[in-house]
Chain length 189, copies 2
DNA sequence: GCATTTACCTAAAGGCTTTAGGCAAATCAG
DNA sequence: CTGATTTGCCTAAAGCCTTTAGGTAAATGC
């Protein structure tokens, strides 16, 4: 019987594609096995558990996002950098909704520490170098940007902004403008 | 055999409690049945399906949240109202993490239209009456507030702001200040 | 007190997860 | 190139969750 040539890498990647097509909560060891035309038990050589599979997808997504972020930030500063990073998250979520959902998965501390999550924090801080903030304001600002980006993308993805004028793109532009203005003019205390 | 006295209401409420204690993804018809000391099949007279149970919890959460919001907004305006509504979401999420997660569940359009979700939109617009915005800026602002509140609460709940100074409360205060400043001084175009 | 409704039950089928143990294909040694 | 080892996928099986069908007993109503 010919072998399917599975590896952890391929299994996780197939899971990620399934997540984008059918939703992250539809990602199941069984479904991935079906995709490869293989019995379920066979996947357990490549993935420790269902949760492990999901974690793998989350780590993949975090890394892809961080890679895109690095690319987008290269050579940019100030509002340019701000918009670029915001668009990375927004575009990624629209292109890969399942992966984006996976990236929100709560990781246990040691996994999180070894993930690309730390690169994300660094990227947001890099943006703030274009503005004049020192600690602890920088941390407040990091959290604000994280909240807005994540919140907006999540609500938009959930369809919250469909079916009503003005369209979502316009609001997004206004929000980026507002954040830029806010950071340039950060309230003293 | 004595009856347990189940009703849809009680079943959903038990599900909500389970969500808060164990996480929304742990909410299962079986678990709720165990809680009542009843066979699983018995719950299917009160709840159409597992999905229906989860939807019920989501609707409950949306309503509880809207009730709290109405209370909090009564007699307040401007920054006072802004803080009050923000705190409603944040406090609710901390007190009832499972219910809050449930409230994010994607509802089908007709269910959503009949839910307390519409009250939420109204509440946010009510806040903006204290600021000088007209359409379409008002809609942009509604979306911004929604994004920040939801994003912040989600990240905080996920533990994103633990283990690092300054503490989350301080950031939250600064964010409310910033939003107020931004709304008072909304960029002309 | 009897009929009807209602609440909960047993039974059963189907799906997902996970572990244990087996066989055959790929890989490697001499 | 052949025999030994490793590795990949398989069968089997147990446990839990969902959902439907049909039965019995408790509550309700006349």
């Amino acid at each position: 019987m010919a072998r399917a040539g599975l590896t952890t890498e391929r299994v996780v990647r197939a899971g990620a594609e399934l997540a984008d097509e059918a939703g992250f909560d539809q990602v199941t060891v069984s479904a991935v096995a079906r995709h490869f035309g293989v019995k379920v038990a066979s996947l357990y050589s490549h993935v420790k558990s269902s949760h492990d599979l999901r974690t793998g997808i989350a780590l993949l997504a975090l890394e892809e996002l961080a890679d895109r972020g690095d690319d987008a930030l290269a050579g940019r500063a100030g509002k340019d950098a701000l918009s670029a990073l915001g668009n990375v998250y927004r575009d990624y979520a629209r292109e890969h909704p399942g992966r984006y959902a996976a990236a929100q998965l709560r990781l246990d501390p040691s996994t999180a520490a070894a993930s690309a999550g730390v690169r994300h924090a660094r990227m947001t801080r890099a943006i703030l170098r274009g503005y004049d903030l020192t600690e602890p304001d920088q941390t407040h600002a990091v959290r604000l940007l994280g909240s807005v980006f994540h919140g907006y993308v999540t609500l938009e993805l959930g369809g919250g902004f469909d079916h009503s004028a003005p369209d979502s793109q316009e609001t997004w532009n206004r929000i980026l403008d507002s954040l830029d203005a806010l950071l340039r003019n950060w309230p003293a205390n």
